[in-house]
Symmetry: C2
Subunit: 424 residues, 2 copies
């Protein structure tokens, strides 16, 4: 495979490509490198390749013409990539795809960026090494070259070790051990010295799952998992951010469609559905808030039917869910109850179908360390007095759309899932 | 700031650290580099630092002792990082955090990995450059050094250009242009030559939002967005994968809790809630499947009340949602109807609270190119005959937990949200 690298710093690549396996692969003729310096294609007498940006602002911009000419010098069959923060993220699966090519060209930008017209004129695929800012494309290009290069047949001493590592199988790697068998009191796990291949393989898989669950649970959402894997994960302890999350459904004060302050009546399936969400996601609690005593009595009667009455015999799972509902008069009582139970006042976060600036990842981060009470309105939404006293408002679900009319049951389900997912 | 790099290939870093701004920063004394070769700390006469893995398998493992000794040679105040796929992902926010330190040490592993006991004995923070496999930690360390180094005061010519780029503000950068004003028929956007700073800033922000929505909509979920940003995003066209997603709610054949085949009756709020989800997420359609004619008539009566009767006047939004529901006898009729409408048979994907192997990202990928019908059961779940004829089963929500009893309304809401999110 040939990598053609377009860079104004071709020397950047000298030492990294002369080390270790990449150097050996060059010697074996498995990979070839060409370096193309856009300065050599500049028609400017000083070989400049940059100029000031239209519209002002800091830094310089790489001009389109030298890069355009440099690209014209490449073999026509080359697949042309450009390192850019807006690109397709570099993943193991992209590396595997690129390893099938014969000719890859990589454009490395410098300064503030490259004149946008280059991409309008030439067929270029932007690739991003990660969500961080670098001085130019060279370092990302090196990651790409290494990730792709090592997948070329015969690159590694033995083929099997190239693609059987972390991310090759969408879970993190198991821990490695080598001699001595004991070091500063720490021993190699016994199973690894057992010689029992089946047990070693099972132990390594379990360690992989455990490491992934503990450090990168997000990877599990796309990992291929066997029934045995799922069974093992079910038995694992994990940090449960859900314990810090509380939900309140408010029947007063809420607004009607003309903005008047009203009290809404209880909806039986709100009670059931949100209780079932609370139980399934392991929430700290679910509060139903209505100042009307009759309505609180009705809620309690419904709950008792399932918690201890006929409902318990018919459906014990439902009993577990509804047994968690707490019926109170006002939102403040829910806040006080949480504060008394866990010794810390929760952050009170309102929700709305229309507005809100707090992002879900932001609130999910808070849940690591502190309690959060998510407040859901009934009717046409929470009264402005509730909103003005809260600690913030969560961004609306589907905030980029004009039609947004979910039931409070759906909204609660989606919000809790966005905050906790499968693992939280 | 001092970077101490532990690597058996210290020469790797020679040329990258002698180019561009990093080289200038070294000359100015802003950053210092020390290279520590674990081989120099090996007590083996051949200066070996690796050995075969306990438990077998390909490759070699870096031994704990030389690295442990190398770490002991560092200043006690150093914050010790290790490049590792299992680490905290390198992001701009981590780079900002690390830029506050005076002494950073970076361990670069090679071979299959490092003996796991090193982390048990020493305080080490693993950092990952991305979800791809490299030959060792050196290339990732270079990314980290560059991302962190450029945030040190005075590193950049002007401070403002260090952190005002892509990911600094959680959205992608606007396009850059420099001379000439016209190139191969492509002109610089007029606004940039207007000299009107307010209009230029607004245009650049809009371009940033547009690029992010089109290429990395996932970034918007954590981006800080103003009301004007949200207003602009609402007006943007975007690929709507939701159009390829259909939902069917099946009342027959389903199972009861003893596994017998039954027909369930209609639930009014299933009709409403899932219709509202379908409309809010712009789905291709929502099918209600019951072979009982009376039940279909009842469903139609309910729908007509909201679509054209009193309900329309009371709540036109509800009318829009319920007007989309199609009532059919069996799942096959829903499949036939979709096939007739769009000229392609949908992939039929079952759902369950207990099992399933298809991941959400996998099904979300399909939605780019082909129709998918998500089949939800009532009662105690879909009949095994439905499952065995489907093209697959989606992994259960909260698959790592034993308690999982969401209502079908909640499950439908969460599944659709996981497949489409805010932008899909």
């Amino acid at each position: 495979m040939r990598f053609s690298v377009l860079s104004i710093f071709p020397d950047f690549f000298d030492s990294p490509l002369s080390c270790g396996l990449l150097s050996k692969a060059r010697d074996k003729g498995l990979v070839h490198f060409s370096f193309i310096n856009p300065r050599d294609f500049s028609t400017d007498k000083h070989h400049n390749v940059d100029d000031r940006p239209y519209g002002g602002g800091p830094g310089m911009v790489m001009a389109v013409d030298p890069l355009r000419r440099a690209l014209d010098s490449l073999p026509a069959c080359a697949r042309v990539l450009m390192m850019s923060p807006k690109g397709r993220p570099l993943t193991q699966s992209l590396a595997r795809e690129l390893a099938q090519e014969e000719e890859l060209a990589i454009i490395c930008g410098r300064y503030e960026g490259i004149d946008a017209r280059l991409e309008q004129i030439c067929r270029i695929e932007p690739v991003s090494v990660g969500d961080f800012v670098l001085n130019g494309g060279e370092t990302g290009a090196l990651c790409l070259i290494e990730a792709v290069g090592r997948l070329i047949p015969d690159f590694m001493g033995r083929d099997e070790s190239a693609d059987e590592e972390s991310f090759s199988a969408d879970v993190l790697e198991y821990p490695h051990y080598t001699r001595p068998e004991e070091y500063e009191g720490f021993k190699v796990p016994e199973v690894l010295a057992s010689g029992h291949h089946g047990r070693i393989a099972a132990w390594r898989r379990e360690q992989s799952l455990e490491t992934t669950l503990s450090l990168r649970p997000d990877l599990l959402s796309r990992a291929a998992l066997s029934d045995a894997d799922v069974h093992y994960l079910k038995g694992m302890d994990r940090p449960r951010r859900g314990r810090n999350l509380f939900v309140a459904l408010v029947h007063y004060p809420v607004e009607n469609k003309t903005g008047q302050t009203i009290t809404t009546s209880l909806t039986n399936l709100d009670l059931h559905d949100i209780a079932r969400v609370s139980c399934t996601y392991g929430l700290g609690g679910y509060y139903l808030c209505t100042p009307v005593e009759d309505q609180r009595d009705l809620a309690q009667t419904l709950i008792e039917h399932w918690r201890a009455g006929h409902g318990l015999r018919a459906n014990p799972d439902r009993s577990e869910a509804l047994g968690r509902v707490r019926v109170v008069d006002l939102l403040e009582s829910a806040v006080d109850d949480i504060t008394a139970r866990i010794g810390q006042r929760p952050k009170v976060i309102c929700t709305s179908a229309k507005a809100g600036t707090l992002t879900f990842p932001q609130v999910a981060d808070w849940l690591r360390d502190e309690p959060v009470l998510l407040v859901l309105g009934t009717g046409h939404g929470l009264h402005r007095a509730v909103i003005s006293e809260a600690d913030g408002m969560l961004r609306a679900i589907r905030f980029m759309d004009r039609y947004n009319h979910l039931s409070v049951r759906s909204a609660a389900s989606i919000m809790v899932d966005r905050l906790l997912g499968d693992a939280g």
